[in-house]
Symmetry: C2
Subunit: 147 residues, 2 copies
């Protein structure tokens, strides 16, 4: 029985993102669901702008371009028809929620580091995504690759 019909897979494109591939593919297949893959870039200006007047457009464009390439490689590895690939600049959790609403997704899939203690206070994407999500959220436990 299909439980989900539209899946939004949000990835940070870190090494750990690849750990989301197999499960997301299997869940999508089991549910014959459509999949949108989303990567959100936090604007440089959030981190560096404001105080120092500088034009970050060129750097930002390069980051965007780089992310698009990486996302496209990632989507290929997913080996499942991807309805759309999105690179968006903004606040991670709001953009994920916004996209889930816009596309009418019923499941958001994100990676979770399962952090606790101090890291909990520092916040995690999975955690922020959960709050205020318009639909179900599956947090897939990922592990740091061994160095």
């Amino acid at each position: 029985m299909a439980v989900y019909s539209k899946i939004l897979l949000a990835v940070d494109l870190s090494e750990e993102s690849d750990q989301l591939i197999e499960k997301t593919r299997a869940i999508a297949q089991n549910n014959q669901a459509s999949v949108t893959v989303l990567h959100v870039i936090e604007p440089l200006s959030f981190a560096y702008g404001g105080d120092v007047p500088m034009d970050l457009t060129t750097v930002q464009n390069q980051l965007d371009e780089h992310a698009r390439t990486k996302l496209s490689v990632f989507s290929e590895k997913l080996n499942y028809p991807v309805e759309s690939q999105q690179v968006i600049t903004g606040h991670t959790e709001s953009e994920i929620h916004h996209m889930a609403e816009e596309k009418g997704c019923d499941l958001i899939v994100v990676g979770s580091h399962g952090r606790h203690g101090l890291a909990l206070l520092l916040g995690s994407t999975a955690n922020s995504v959960l709050h205020g999500a318009p639909c179900d959220v599956l947090a897939i436990r990922v592990y740091e690759p061994e160095k």
Copy 2:
């Protein structure tokens, strides 16, 4: 393709818990997974004990008994073979994590109110469960019944 083989469904036995039934059943069926249903009671002594010396054993036992009955009704509504039903007294998130580890679960299912803003600061079970979870967590969005 089965993604999960052992599901831990953690319920607070509120009215909203029933909203977890259909999806959990479908996911369990799709994966031919075993299901453990868990309800955690926070000990009265956490809230009232310490300062005033009183014996809360009788009240606690009544709460336990009440929870067991409710959980059994809930499990029946699930209409899926439940491997085990557990009522445990302790801290909600640690007991959920502990049970998931003990049973070797690969998916924890919890209800999520999708709260944000002030309620985020007040904490939510789904959020606490996410942190330090030994496995994947599916937060199913539940809605307050209309009054």
